[in-house]
């Protein structure tokens, strides 16, 4: 995989909840087609960072740029201004997100979960949206369950529908927040397989995970976060095998 331009630029991102500073100035670049795994202890701010990238949280300082667009902001007269609702929505269309708890729409079937965004946001006709959604579901191996409601699907199946739902919007960047943490161990594999395929097709991905094997095999680079800071970033194997920081070392011995 050839790496080109940075697709994602994260600069000095600070996030506070009340008095608590959860992100203390994050700087990260993600190249186009690159898979970046974010690892780190619970509470270190990994989810918060992903949510800032998708503008589900608003950073208190700094900025995040994906391709030509800024998260929650637009450039006017050489200055960043808070974006309007429509601008935020169209930014989010280009950034797909997969949640730890799947968050499938509970009142919709698997197929409708995938097609609703195509129909209502991308404004495809109903039949086009359904057809695209079918293809996307087939792609994650769930064509035969298109009429099932989320409550009738296993966790692994739900997460695959959620991945199909995000991919169907044809985003430039996919964010995964611990996509396998809520799954029974025997269901983790099917979700990781799907994610591997997405990566192989050249999708740019930021993945928060505790699956060190996935990080080693699939990620181009791994970033270790602790207490709201990126402690170190590096090529996957190098960071996982010969970490330079003591904190990374002790974290890795604890999880492996």
């Amino acid at each position: 995989m050839t790496q080109k331009q940075p697709l994602v630029t994260i600069r000095n991102v600070v996030k506070r909840f009340g008095e608590v500073e959860v992100l203390k100035g994050i700087d990260l670049d993600v190249m186009e087609g690159e898979v970046l795994c974010l690892i780190g202890p619970s509470g270190s701010g990994k989810s918060t960072l992903l949510r800032c990238v998708n503008y589900l949280e608003r950073a208190d300082d700094g900025y995040i740029k994906v391709d030509a667009d800024y998260a929650g902001a637009v450039v006017r007269g050489g200055q960043l201004h808070e974006a309007s609702e429509g601008e935020i929505a169209s930014y989010r269309q280009r950034v797909g997100m997969v949640f730890q708890h799947f968050n499938l729409f509970l009142h919709l079937t698997a197929l409708e979960n995938v097609s609703i965004g195509l129909q209502k946001v991308r404004r495809l006709t109903k039949s086009d949206a359904t057809e695209c959604a079918r293809t996307a579901l087939a792609d994650v191996g769930l064509a035969h369950l298109e009429h099932s409601y989320p409550r009738h699907l296993s966790g692994g199946q739900q997460q695959r529908v959620a991945i199909a739902r995000a991919l169907a919007m044809e985003p430039k960047l996919m964010l995964f927040d611990e996509p396998t943490s809520a799954l029974d161990p025997e269901l983790v594999g099917e979700v990781l397989t799907v994610m591997r395929r997405v990566a192989e097709r050249g999708m740019t991905m930021i993945v928060v995970t505790h699956e060190m094997r996935f990080a080693r095999d699939v990620a181009n680079r791994v970033a270790f976060m602790d207490q709201g800071k990126v402690v170190e970033v590096g090529p996957a194997k190098q960071l996982l095998d010969t970490p330079s920081s003591e904190r990374t070392k002790s974290f890795l011995t604890r999880v492996e």
């Binding site: 589900l56 609702e85 169209s90 989010r92 269309q93 950034v95 968050n103 729409f105 209502k120 369950l145």
Partner: protein, 327 residues
């Protein structure tokens, strides 16, 4: 051939699979594998199952209740003071049926307006705009705090403090606009609306936040998120308390009798005001209230059933827990 294992249960009694329940088994037999059947005095048929217990007390209490109910009905039916012939005479009389119709209209129209008020204000309450949120809080606080009777009287007497409605050439005398009926509708709607706001907001809040976040992450705006994701899921939480509210509105609408709203109770009062047959007419009123409330309760059960499983119409019945064909 069935092999039955006598299982030690630690108390001296033992269970045998598919055999009589909790029979005492000598300790020497515990743990023994038995073939076919077993211990003396026990069931031989391996397919035996316990005969259900009889419940003579149910029958006894049922009989007592029937006797008491019979006595009550008898004493009511033969009580001269209740004047059943008068009851029968007025039950389907024109003024009573007109009053009943007005009661139904008042309740349905007020409920519909209240629903609109509730939806609009609940959405405003979700808004980022602090002025809207404060307005919603104020509305709910005011109209939920004011007793309905007082509110109805204020609406009816609005002309005393707002003599004319409208501006300039387009204004009308309040008294000609606001009859007892319109005052009743306004009062009931404003009052009911305050409760509907709270019910609908609770419905919105019952939808897990992850649903909105997923919708937003697909690029849905707030309005679309509400329409396509939140409201369809909130409906099943909103319906049961709305049904209860409607039933209490049906009954509370009788308060409009104080402003001559023309409802069921108003009509009955007008009749017994002239012929003094108070009790039979109140019985007529009670009969009709019970009838429409019962009807409304059935309607509520129907709606609850319809929306309990999935919000929105269930197009296809899905098979429970489908397993994947491919590993």
């Amino acid at each position: 051939m069935t092999n039955l294992v006598v299982v030690w249960n630690g108390t001296g009694a033992a269970y045998q699979l598919r055999q009589s329940w909790s029979t005492s088994i000598p300790e020497s037999k515990v743990g023994e594998v038995v073939t076919g059947s077993t211990v003396d005095g026990d069931v031989r048929d391996p397919h035996a199952r316990p005969v259900p217990r009889k419940h003579p007390s149910y029958w006894l209490s049922g009989a007592v209740a029937l006797v008491i109910a019979g006595l009550v009905v008898y004493s009511l039916a033969t009580n001269e003071k209740l004047q059943w012939p008068v009851f029968a005479q007025y039950l389907f009389s024109a003024p009573i049926l007109q009053g009943l119709w007005v009661t139904i209209q008042l309740s349905v129209v007020s409920q519909v307006i209240a629903l609109v008020i509730g939806c609009v204000l609940a959405l405003l309450g979700e808004s980022k705009n602090p002025v809207f949120r404060a307005f919603v809080k104020g509305y709910v606080g005011f109209f939920r705090g004011l007793p309905l009777l007082v509110l109805l009287l204020i609406c009816f007497n609005a002309a005393l403090f707002i003599p004319r409605l409208g501006w300039g050439d387009f204004s009308w005398d309040t008294n000609t606009l606001i009859s007892g009926f319109t005052a009743a509708i306004i009062g009931l709607s404003l009052h009911e609306g305050a409760f509907m706001v709270e019910i609908i907001r609770a419905g919105f809040m019952s939808v897990p936040p992850g649903q909105r976040e997923a919708a937003q992450s697909l690029g849905m705006k707030r309005g679309l998120t509400m329409r396509a994701i939140v409201i369809p899921q909130a409906i099943r939480v909103i319906i049961p308390p709305t049904g209860n509210q409607f039933i209490s509105l049906l009954k509370a609408s009788s308060l409009v009798a104080v402003i001559g709203g023309g409802d069921l109770l108003t009509r009955a009062q007008q009749i017994y005001g002239s012929n003094f047959k108070v009790i039979p007419l109140l019985l007529v009123v009670s009969f009709w209230y019970l009838a429409i409330v019962t009807l409304a309760t059935f309607g509520q059960h129907f709606l609850e059933k319809k929306y309990s499983l999935s919000a929105g119409p269930q197009k296809k019945q899905t098979k429970p827990r489908l397993e994947e064909a491919s590993a």
